[in-house]
Amino acid sequence: MNKILLIVSREYLTRVRKKSFIILTILVPLLIMLMYAGIFALVIKGDELSGPRNVIVIDDSGIFKNKLKEDKTIRFSYLDASIEEAKKIVKSGDNTYLLYIPKFEGDQPLHIELMAKKQAGLGFSSDIENQLENVIRDRKLTEAGIDQKVLDNLKTNISIDTKKLTEKGEEAGSSGAAFGVGMAASILIYMFIFLYGVQVMRGVIEEKTNRIIEVIISSVKPFQLMMGKIIGVALVGLTQFLLWVILTSTIGSVAMKALMPADAKHKIEQMQKQPGASIKAQQPDNPAAKIFDALNTIPFGMILGCFLFYFLGGYLLYSAIFAAIGSAVDNETETQQFMLPVTLPLIFAFIFSVNFVVNNPDSPISFWMSMIPFFSPVVMMVRIPYGVAPWELALSMALLIAGFFGTVWLAARIYRTGILMYGKKASWKELGKWLFYK
């Protein structure tokens, strides 16, 4: 046991002291922040940056004039000119569009056209479509004798609050928030298994090609060396994760204070102070408040616990296999033939989660995938935010632990033979034989 600790501390310290570790630890939070800042800037400032779109309206039907709503991003100007003249203006100006509405045929105009130097964006054109539709509908309703006041009254703005019925009563939930949290956890686990599993494999290959392996295993059992390496790298992973969380939130809050306009900051602070329910009562229409409210319904403590469990469980399961692969080859280029079948389940689980589980978290396939140890770390993390029965969680965890012991046992048997084999290109058949050596 003492020797495992010794190996763990060597593996840990040599990795944490590496320049690449330090650089990655600092760089990733910065990149994340930059990414967020980029998205933020695009969303908030994007339209303002390019200035408002000027839309020249040639309205042959004559009913739309001054009925289209302007905002920061769209300006309408109504022109009594021929299309040809208007086209010239559009061609000469950036960010200028021509909306041509012909005369009514029947109860609506056909062949409405939106022209510009560049193809108009989908969001922009559907925005205009909506506006036109609204105007026509209003007109029809008025023609049918419905009062303008009644019309205004009719306008409602609906957004659905999803709620789960549980034994405790109603719980507000948000599939959006659940989706986000589950995906993030799943992606992280997927990445970490790859990143650190491969590190274990590299470490094994390094010891083998350095030929230090024989010196070490004349002092410790191969199993101790393998476990020491796996645990050491796991601690490196946890350290890095923790540092990322701390650094990201520190940089984030500093950046928030520096960049956020004062009133927005104030708003957010207010939201954070008030419990979710009261915000809802006071400001039912505030979408930001809703997101906070939804996030509050997600049991973060539970998710964090599960995340750590599945992160470690998945990593241990796969890293044992990676260690076995490392022991079976003489250098990294030879790992290809073994890597693919091992990484396939992981990649499959990931693609499956992204495309299927998020939409059908409770389907039988999702259930079974979240039970099988090779898939469960990635799949289960997507399911958990939607709510998973405790027995399912317990079963999945138990199976993962069992799977981990199984793969470690198998991997250790391949490992202790593989590390002493040089110059022979191992085949799958050979690995099978190694399992049964005494």
Binding site: K3, L6, I7, R10, T14, E206, E207, N210, R211, I212, I213, E214, V215, I216, I217, S218, S219, V220, K221, L420, K433, K438
Partner: protein
């Protein structure tokens, strides 16, 4: 000290050791000889408990070999290896701690050895910054740090320059004087004669020869002599006589020399009596075969493949 009894080790396609038994005395320098692929490394790995034998037992100081003996054995494998990116000092300490030494104790002994071999200023260097010979020195230190009772050296001199061979030989002999038993696996027969008390020769998984070096050489005499003389010797030109067969003849300015093999029933005295009437004898020396010759003839006899440098 070490009693190896009837060890059998089989791999999928071949037998590495079939029923090998060896006794190694405490305080001896024991040579483990054999061509490549004979099973030496398999045996060494079994002694180090890296692999387990299919059958047979090993006793260490009378006790059955078990993991608690690991810290009493020091092993220098043929293929040397150290962590390339790790500092020498840290590395030596780490390897010693794996052999159950406390860090403080390891530090003390590391200082002792680094001073002794005059490599103190390498402490903070990384292995990749050292030449191969320097790495070997560090590896030797790492092997003996924990004062093993049994030191197993697999081709310890490969990669060393002559000066370092001398230094390491001196250190090995000094450790032996202090009571360390040494197993020495090698092809270099001159170092076997120089260092080893006893040897075992393994070929094709079988033990084919063992015993004390002097006794083996004595037993493998072929009743041949070298005679240095002055004068004219008849029978030089291959003419037969009843006492000996000519094997070789050489002449220089001062004297002549013949190498002869005595016929059955003749002794050195008979040879002298036969020669004295014809020549004046300056010297007579019995030819005792070198370990090299015994090794080569035994390996050929048992159908082994000789390493290139011995062919």
């Amino acid at each position: 000290m070490l009693s190896i009894r009837n060890i059998v080790k089989q791999y999928a396609n071949h037998t590495a050791l079939s029923g090998v038994s060896i006794e190694i005395e405490k305080g001896s320098v024991f040579g483990l000889l054999g061509p490549n692929g004979a099973g030496k490394t398999s045996l060494i790995r079994i002694i180090n408990q890296i692999t387990a034998p299919d059958s047979g037992e090993i006793y260490f100081n009378g006790e059955k070999l078990s993991p608690k003996h690991i810290s009493k054995i020091g092993y220098l494998p043929e293929e040397r290896g150290l962590y390339k990116k790790m500092e020498i000092g840290e590395q030596v300490l780490y390897l010693a701690q794996l052999k159950d030494l406390s860090r403080a104790e390891a530090l003390n002994r590391a200082k002792y050895w680094f001073e002794k071999l005059e490599i103190q200023n390498w402490w903070h260097k990384k292995v990749e910054e050292l030449s191969k010979g320097m790495q070997q020195k560090v590896q030797f230190v790492a092997t003996v740090m924990h004062k093993p009772e049994l030191l197993i050296l697999d081709e310890p001199f490969s990669g060393f320059d002559p000066i370092n061979v001398d230094i390491i030989t001196r250190e090995i002999l000094e450790l032996n004087k202090q009571g360390t038993t040494i197993i020495f696996s090698t092809h270099r027969m001159e170092s076997v004669e120089e260092l080893c008390d006893s040897i075992v020769l393994i070929n094709k998984s079988h033990k084919i020869l063992d015993g004390k070096v002097n006794e083996i050489r004595y037993n493998y005499r072929s009743n041949s002599y070298k005679v240095t003389y002055n004068g004219n010797l008849p029978y030089l030109n291959g003419s037969a006589n009843s006492v000996y067969e000519m094997i070789g003849h050489s002449t220089d300015d001062l004297h002549q020399q013949i190498t002869v093999k005595l016929k059955n029933g003749n002794s050195a005295n008979d040879l002298l009596q036969f020669l004295i009437p014809h020549i004046s004898i300056e010297g007579l020396e019995e030819i005792i075969p070198s370990m090299h010759d015994i090794f080569v003839s035994k390996v050929k006899e048992t159908g082994g493949i000789l390493p290139e440098e011995l062919q």
